[in-house]
């Protein structure tokens, strides 16, 4: 049994790029859903337009990296406006379906043969992260303690990534304890009541959608920067589902919930997978072949989510009282 590998890969995942990407997506979802009650199931679309905004600007239009970042951000804001103006009047569950639909439409368009020249079809676009790594201040080498080491590229991405994550958390913290955040939370509970108190509900919802989308879109950037490529199918509904799972695991409407949720999510994923693979490889589970590790690992991860949420339906940081109030 290669415990060392199991351990190091698990720790890598906990602090690695996956946690950053999914954590940012989840912070966005937390603003939408956790605080404002907007059941936005199209978070992946925000990541997609950001990733593609960057990729297409750099690779197709041949413009500099920073322009790409601004195009990505602009695309996320634009998407929020386009998605929000017609749909924010919908009831929560209807909004969920409409946003899923919108995200799927965007993915299918990115994927389509019609626009292959721009978006690269099902293979997507690659080769736009050069400038990012050119800014890397770390000299070449391997950094870390003990078995947990990163090369300078990864370290650079993680440094920037975690700074963005912490900034996002700080922003959420400041906003949510302010009167602005109070309006959002009130909208989550009952928008008619908020309207009756003279608040422009639509405007606040839109602000929330834009903010969450923009934070989520950084997840899209980091995905592209780390993998060096964006592909349409990465940004499918699965991504959004996982972001929601992360939010609930960490505790909805909690500042650090999404970050901790993302860590738990990936630790569970990697630990279960690698443990299982090692057990099979070393013959501890004789009835399973190593090919079957894949599905069983997923099954166990699914089971893991279920158990975690049964034990703590309010998530790690959640408040049990809040859950009790909304239980049917």
């Amino acid at each position: 049994m290669d415990w060392l590998t199991i351990f190091t890969t698990t720790v890598h995942a906990a602090i690695g790029w996956e946690t950053i990407v999914y954590g940012l997506a989840a912070i966005g979802v937390n603003i939408h859903f956790g605080y404002t009650g907007l059941l936005n199931f199209g978070q992946a679309a925000f990541m997609a337009v950001a990733g593609y905004g960057l990729a297409v600007t750099v690779t197709v239009l041949d413009l500099p990296f920073w322009v790409g970042i601004f195009v990505g951000l602009g695309a996320a804001v634009l998407l929020a406006l386009l998605m929000g103006i017609p749909t924010l009047q919908l009831r929560a569950d209807y909004l969920a379906i409409v946003t899923i639909a919108a995200a799927e439409i965007i993915r299918l368009i990115f994927r389509s043969v019609q626009f292959k020249g721009v978006f690269g079809g099902s293979d997507g676009r690659r080769g736009f992260n050069g400038d990012f790594y050119a800014m890397n201040p770390y000299p070449e080498g391997r950094y870390g303690i003990g078995a947990i080491v990163f090369d300078e590229r990864t370290l650079w991405l993680l440094t920037v990534g975690w700074i963005v994550v912490l900034l996002a958390c700080g922003l959420v913290y400041l906003l949510m304890k302010s009167p602005w955040g109070r309006v959002l939370k009130a909208i989550r509970e009952d928008e008619d009541a908020v309207r009756a108190l003279g608040k422009n509900v639509f405007s606040y919802k839109m602000q929330s959608l834009v903010l969450g989308g923009v934070i989520g879109c950084f997840g899209g950037f980091f995905y592209g920067l780390y993998n060096g490529a964006v592909q349409p199918d990465v940004f499918g509904t699965e991504m959004t589902f996982f972001a929601y799972t992360i939010v609930i695991l960490g505790g909805a409407a909690r500042v650090f919930g999404p970050v901790v949720g993302a860590m738990i999510f990936w630790v569970l994923f990697v630990f279960v997978g690698n443990l299982l693979a090692e057990l099979v490889a070393n013959g501890y589970i004789p009835f399973m072949t190593s090919i079957q590790v894949g599905p069983i690992r997923y099954a166990l991860v699914g089971l893991g989510f279920i158990l975690l949420l049964i034990v703590r339906p309010q998530g790690i940081f959640g408040d049990k009282r809040e859950i009790a109030i909304n239980a049917r």
Binding site: A186, D190, L197, E322
Partner: protein, 292 residues
Amino acid sequence: MAREPGVPKPDPILVVDKVVRRFGGLTAVDVEHVEVQRGSITALIGPNGAGKTTFFNQLTGFDTADAGTWTFNGRTMSGVPAHKVARAGMVRTFQLTKALSRLTVMENMRLGAQQQKGESFWRALVPGFWRSQEQEITERAEELLVRFKLDAKRDDFAGSLSGGQRKLLEMARALMVGPELVMLDEPMAGVNPALTQSLLGHVKDLREQGMTVLFVEHDMDMVRDISDWVIVMAQGAVIAEGPPSTIMSDERVIDAYLGAHHDAPLSDTELQAQLHEAEAELEAEIEEETQK
């Protein structure tokens, strides 16, 4: 004798003309003309289903009227979205309460305050901008909570309040807005009478400070006690207006709305008489049936 509906007032704050709202075949509201006097307490009464709540919904922009116009403070309010109506100074409460469940009672109250600096995105980021205002708001909210006997529940989630407490919170929160005209939809249904009494005092104080109150209520003791003017609705239309005493002796109103006993206790003698009546009826029926 009650006045004709729609009498002009010397200084109306709210003037309503020909508002109609239909649901399918049912005409829920069909108000020809109504004015509400500034600085008065006006009661809106009428049988269940008369269209009072629907009328409120039209006026405050929560539902779109099929026809009609109305002005508030001289400003046309028809077609204005709900939040702008509220900002203009016309605030309503809901008959079926809308507590913001997962906000504490205090947060519910604070939310009511208007023109909060911290409610703009950018200023929210710098607590310095809104701290002191928040302090003021909190103080004001605390005073109201004490009056409404909700101070003990200050930090509880509004979702955990009892039915009556929600009504109280609903009204207190509306008062936080500091409206010129507050429209209360059955504010005291389900509130303990002793507390109701003390709150009425508060409402009168508010009138002294210049606020206009328009409220729907089925509790005639309350209507009699505080209202300066009563408007009666039935089947969507305003059928009578006048000071409380005249209205309550109006035959039509008694007939359609108040019923014969509204003023008298259901004292034993009277009840006995009624019961005898009922029993006699029953017996007669039973006899009939047995004869068949």
